[in-house]
Symmetry: C2
Subunit: 319 residues, 2 copies
């Protein structure tokens, strides 16, 4: 697939940080950023800009806050690769943004639930006024009633958001549902760019991202070796292998996987794990799966996979 409009956004540090509390050391993030630039990735998302009044900077790594000074230690302005940072509705300090011309950040991505889309628009407008690109991720699309989702999309069509992301937070969707929703997003958003962010609970993150591309989606999220919360994401390396734009190079990401991500994966075990698969097929938040995996890795989990499955699919009956 070669469509020059397609943009890869790598969210390894941001989404992967959900698995290690953003405790990536700076030398590693610097190396990852340089590798992604060499790979030709269009956007690199280096973390969240979380409100320090709500989150203690002593208890979380630097990429939960993405202070400008920290970003400048690991990243640089590049002609082809832009830096993005995510902001959560309700967890963001409006006063903690520099004017865009004083920052190396190009884009802020607002993460919201459909019910909070008015707050997301308010936050987006604030950031846009400072000169940044803005996009919005509507999380957990698989649990939103359709009229509510449609209302949110209609509202967003008339905003300054450059991109609206279809997000399969729970790794629940099959290709037919992605096709259906991608058509809905592109239609209701009246030609605005659409993005896609898939989770890999059912080993469908890459496949569903391709389905989105076929349906006209141009902004695709990946992470190195799929690193991300719970089952993780579409992998950046598979996107680089699939997209035929000659600017993309696979080798730098293979090198990063070998240098960092095999060990991180062995330690943190995101990806295709039975508790996350079960959460996915049941269209559930992975918090029960994460608790199970944390306990099991610590040797403190007495339940079997079957116990877990019975418990989460039928909370009132544990057999």
């Amino acid at each position: 697939m070669y469509r020059p409009e397609i943009k890869i956004l790598d969210c390894t540090i941001r989404d992967g940080g959900l698995m290690n509390n953003w405790e990536f050391d700076k030398a590693m993030v610097k190396d990852v950023y340089a590798g992604l630039v060499a790979a030709g990735v269009d956007y690199v998302e280096l973390g969240y800009r979380a409100d320090k009044a709500q989150f203690d900077t002593k208890k979380h790594g630097p990429w939960r806050f993405c202070d400008e000074a920290d970003l400048r230690e690991v990243a640089f302005k590049d002609d082809n690769t832009k830096i993005s940072v995510m902001v959560d509705v309700g967890r963001t300090d409006y006063d903690n943004f520099l004017p865009a011309e004083e920052s190396i950040i190009s884009m802020f991505r607002v993460a919201t639930y459909a019910k909070d889309v008015d707050k997301a628009i308010h936050l987006g407008n604030h950031i846009k006024a400072l000169g940044y690109e803005i996009s919005v991720n509507i999380m957990a699309a698989s649990t939103v009633l359709e009229p509510e989702l449609e209302e949110a999309l209609v509202q967003l069509a008339d905003t300054d958001f450059e991109v609206v992301y279809l997000v399969d937070s729970f790794g629940y969707f099959y290709s037919e549902q992605i096709q259906y929703l991608a058509e809905k997003y592109t239609t209701l958003l009246k030609g605005k760019q659409v993005g896609i962010h898939c989770h890999n609970n059912q080993q469908l993150a890459f496949a569903n991202t391709i389905e989105g591309i076929i349906k006209g989606i141009n902004y695709v999220d990946g992470s190195i070796f799929g690193m991300g919360r719970a089952a993780g994401n579409c992998t950046t390396e598979l996107l680089l292998g699939f997209l035929k734009n000659p600017k993309y190079q696979l080798s730098p990401v293979l090198g990063l996987i070998e240098k960092y991500f095999l060990q991180l994966h062995a330690d943190l075990q995101w990806g295709y794990q039975m508790p996350y698969m079960v959460n996915g097929i049941l269209n559930q938040h992975p918090r029960t799966g994460l608790e199970f995996m944390d306990n099991r890795m610590a040797g403190k989990e007495s339940r079997s996979f079957v116990d877990f499955y019975n418990e989460v699919r039928n909370p009132d009956v544990i057999d």
Copy 2:
């Protein structure tokens, strides 16, 4: 998806045996078989029937040969679950088949390359005459020139094979290619049943199997936790989660994964590994990836992933 014609064939022991030389012990295979029966799986493939004149019985586990006596130690006739065994064209002793009524095997699956389809038909006719169901897997469909593939399908349309399998041996296909080929198979085979066997080099085995189902394919291969050669297969547990036929049960397979397959996977490392991914995107046999992984697991591999990629994508240049 609920279409009562859909049949799951689990090939864990047969295809997984390619990773451990079929050295599964009998108690384990007995447990796996019973679990797959409990899960409602339609066919369980317990190995190959290899020619003992070509393969030394002392050097391979029992499931490379599937002697009737060995099968009867681990499996039983069940109303809902049938036993299948694979035979390779050119590696099969024609005299080593009981009449079907004296065997607990229901189906033999003939594995062939397109160029050997006449030999496959000859072997299939021999087995069919003994009273068995027969099917044929056309391997490596991604490397066959289209006229040759079409000729094979036209020939097979007029045989007694009950099922013809589309096989993505190298884990190369994307969904659009599966759609294209599934249509070709169903059309040229004139209503004969079509099956699909996908490899997971690009994390697309399950997704491509679903695409096949959408296009009318009714026989789907899976293996527990994806166990199979190199990148492995579509997982049986994902098929059980996807197919809505109430006879299918996920729990027995979750139990087997916990009891056996987590450890087997840690020891043998099939699945999404960078060398296998690289083989997949390059449409190559995984022998180079298997050699790399074997050497690396043995601590004897000096090449990096990037070295490997450069070597296999351009055999004349190693940079």
